[in-house]
Amino acid sequence: MTDICNCKGLVSSISEYIDGELPPELCAELEKHMSECENCTIVVNTLRKTIDLYKQPTPDNPLPDEIKSRLYARLHLEDYMNK
């Protein structure tokens, strides 16, 4: 990290940068800095990958049976409860 102060200022914009919501001039500034700063490049890349990972669709676990029974009972839908 050659210019710690500069990095610190830029970190606050990387979330918006990844979302594509950063104004063009800030975007250019960040990209210029990244071309010279390995650390910021790693942070941006791994942050982008982190977001990719948690946005991977995962099936919602099925509702535990007791919770499901109580829900259907509370809604007076017992007759329609399959399984």
């Binding site: 790693i42 669709p57 509702l63 919770i67 509370r74 809604l75």
Partner: protein
């Protein structure tokens, strides 16, 4: 999101509005897993999550006549559930709007882990264990960050909508989102750093 499962199940709004119970049961069947999980993530308490689950459908049943279909049915229902969960949080006196917001704080720079793990193979990145690490990291986020993260990044609400639901400014939402994301990145970097070391010593 379970948007798709709901679309695929072809639930008829007209039937719901007419009070068709079988149709309401199909709606519950298609959406209850997601609502429970969402409430559990926000509240971290199974009993509270179950209360939110039940109350959400009771509110939805009552509100159906006024539902105009401007948003999709699942979006509408999930908003009801989020509101219920937030109401419970507030009852627990969790202060979602701290007096001062310090954007320059802690995780913006301190303890930034600088391992480059992007090169790890897909099956390593998407393993059940890494998934679990991520879940734990989300659960470990402080309430104020976790709620913003859940609404914006997991439920896909816009910055503006998230701000509206939480009574925060858009700037505060952005700052918290950044901090939540950086914390998750850090946790994953620690974990994948271990994996990298193990892989290279094999």
């Amino acid at each position: 999101m379970s948007e798709e499962s709901l679309n695929n199940s072809n639930i008829s709004l007209a039937a719901l509005k007419a009070g068709d119970r079988a149709e309401f049961a199909r709606l519950v069947d298609a959406t209850s897993n997601h609502i429970y999980r969402l409430a559990l993530k926000i509240l971290r308490d199974p009993q509270d999550a179950e209360d939110v689950l039940q109350e959400s459908y009771i509110k939805a049943m009552r509100a159906l006549p006024e539902f105009e279909g401007r948003s999709s049915l699942s979006t509408w229902l999930y908003r009801i559930a989020v509101n219920e969960a937030l109401m419970l949080l507030r009852k627990r006196r969790v202060n979602l709007v701290p007096v001062e917001e310090d954007p320059d704080e802690d995780d913006l720079q301190a303890g930034m882990v600088l391992t480059d793990w992007c090169c790890l193979p897909e099956d390593e990145l998407l393993s059940a264990e890494s998934r679990q690490r991520l879940e734990q990291a989300v659960d470990a986020l402080p309430e104020t960050l976790r709620v913003v993260f859940m609404l914006r990044d997991m439920e896909g609400l816009s910055i503006r909508e998230t701000a509206g639901m939480l009574g925060l400014t858009e700037t505060a939402v952005k700052t918290r989102l950044l901090r939540a994301r950086l914390r998750l990145r850090n946790q994953l970097s620690v974990y994948f750093g271990e994996r990298l070391t193990e892989n290279s010593s094999e």
